[in-house]
């Protein structure tokens, strides 16, 4: 029992690491990772929505008719996204402004709907929470890692602290739009290399 929960939890961390392995939910991955702070903030918001929606979908899985399940899932997800939106507006307003429209766009993040459809709709609530937590943490770590690469190269800082001393010329390409694609592509290549061995 405990073993299978651990299995559902850990698969999100490497074997099915959302943005890299499943190539889902790329928009926030590319858009908000100019810095580590934004990346992790976005990741945590998504994690919250993932866990809550997974739990509720799993609880209601025998009540929701199969024909209208996608519509029901979307309403459940949208409810939690609205909650996150209001919470962030109240407590971390600066981050809320930086992430902008990407907070409401968690609704259409394929990972959240994908997990509801592929996992939570078929499994018991405690498994669904483990799955949501694992996927969410995997997603947060990926965003943080990409943010770290882009921030350190593009601005020469990590979480605002300078890394390379005053003479460093920032590689601004990395924090701009094209850099996001190239950087994610190269990280995916690196993961493929490691995964092969």
């Amino acid at each position: 029992m405990a073993q299978s929960i651990a299995k559902e939890f850990t698969k999100g961390l490497w074997a099915e690491l959302p943005p890299f392995r499943l190539v889902l939910g790329l928009c926030p991955v590319l858009a908000v990772t100019q810095s580590v702070e934004n990346g992790i903030g976005m990741g945590l918001a998504t994690t919250f929505v993932l866990i809550c929606s997974n739990f509720l979908v799993s609880l209601l899985r025998n009540i929701i008719p199969a024909k209208v399940r996608i519509a029901c899932y979307i309403v459940i997800i949208a409810t939690f996204v609205t909650i996150v939106e209001l919470l962030m507006q109240a407590f971390v307003y600066e981050l809320f402004l930086k992430l902008g429209i990407f907070i409401p766009l968690i609704v259409v993040n394929c990972i959240v709907l994908g997990r509801a459809e592929a996992f939570a709709g078929k499994n018991a609530p405690h498994m669904a929470i483990a799955d949501g937590l694992g996927m969410g943490i995997g997603f947060t770590l990926s965003l943080g890692a990409l943010g770290a690469v882009r921030e350190s190269l593009g601005a020469g800082t990590i979480l605002g602290t300078p890394l390379f001393g005053p003479d460093f010329q920032p590689f601004t390409f990395m924090v701009q739009a094209p850099g996001a694609f190239v950087c994610l592509g190269l990280m995916l290549c690196l993961m493929n290399l490691i995964g092969k061995k």
Partner: protein
């Protein structure tokens, strides 16, 4: 008139929804392996995005704002888009079966395409008037189609080339997308 023209240019090239705003990347990578699917997806997006842009603008201006319930924007927009897609699908199936066969499988995917929802939210955020919102939605959709078709063309060529194994498929796809984004970056000075 010039204002609308400038708005259209800026939405198609400068603020291209895929390459500068990072919206709709899942279908961008998912449907770009073949030219036909890319063209089908682009058509479906143009169709739905314009209608969604108009309807969400009306919903926001005449329903959410007068009642002071803007916090329900996310929920209401996604419901509007989802039901619109469903409605368009039924309508096309009955009246224009040819077009339905072409767009068929792409229509349901559009509900979770963040380009549609994102463009609607941008329209509201920028406080566009009704006409501006319509022009912007249409231009965003055209920009989406343009980038997607360009990208699909490149990917078809890459498929023939010999690529090192770890770089294959999505990985090189992303790097290629970066190169296209770089070329679109040159439009920054235009508007």
């Amino acid at each position: 008139m010039t204002d609308y023209f400038v708005l259209a240019i800026s939405c198609i090239f400068v603020n291209n929804i895929l390459l500068a705003q990072f919206l709709g990347n899942c279908p961008f990578l998912g449907t770009s392996k073949k030219m036909e699917t890319a063209a089908g997806m682009s058509m479906a997006v143009v169709f739905v995005l314009v209608m969604a842009g108009i309807i969400t603008w009306i919903t926001d201006t005449y329903l959410l704002k007068p009642l002071n319930i803007e916090f329900l924007r996310t929920l209401s927009f996604i419901l509007v888009i989802a039901s619109l897609v469903q409605f368009v699908e039924m309508f096309l199936k009955k009246s224009i079966p040819g077009l339905y066969a072409g767009l068929g499988i792409f229509l349901p995917l559009i509900t979770t395409n963040c380009a549609v929802m994102g463009a609607c939210l941008i329209n509201i955020k920028e406080e566009y008037t009704f006409l501006q919102a319509t022009v912007a939605s249409f231009s965003y959709a055209i920009g989406f189609g343009l980038a997607l078709v360009l990208f699909a063309g490149l990917r078809e060529r890459i498929n023939i080339a010999r690529v090192p194994q770890p770089l294959q498929d999505t990985s090189l796809g992303l790097v290629t997308a970066g190169m296209i984004a770089l070329s679109f970056y040159a439009f920054k000075g235009m508007v």
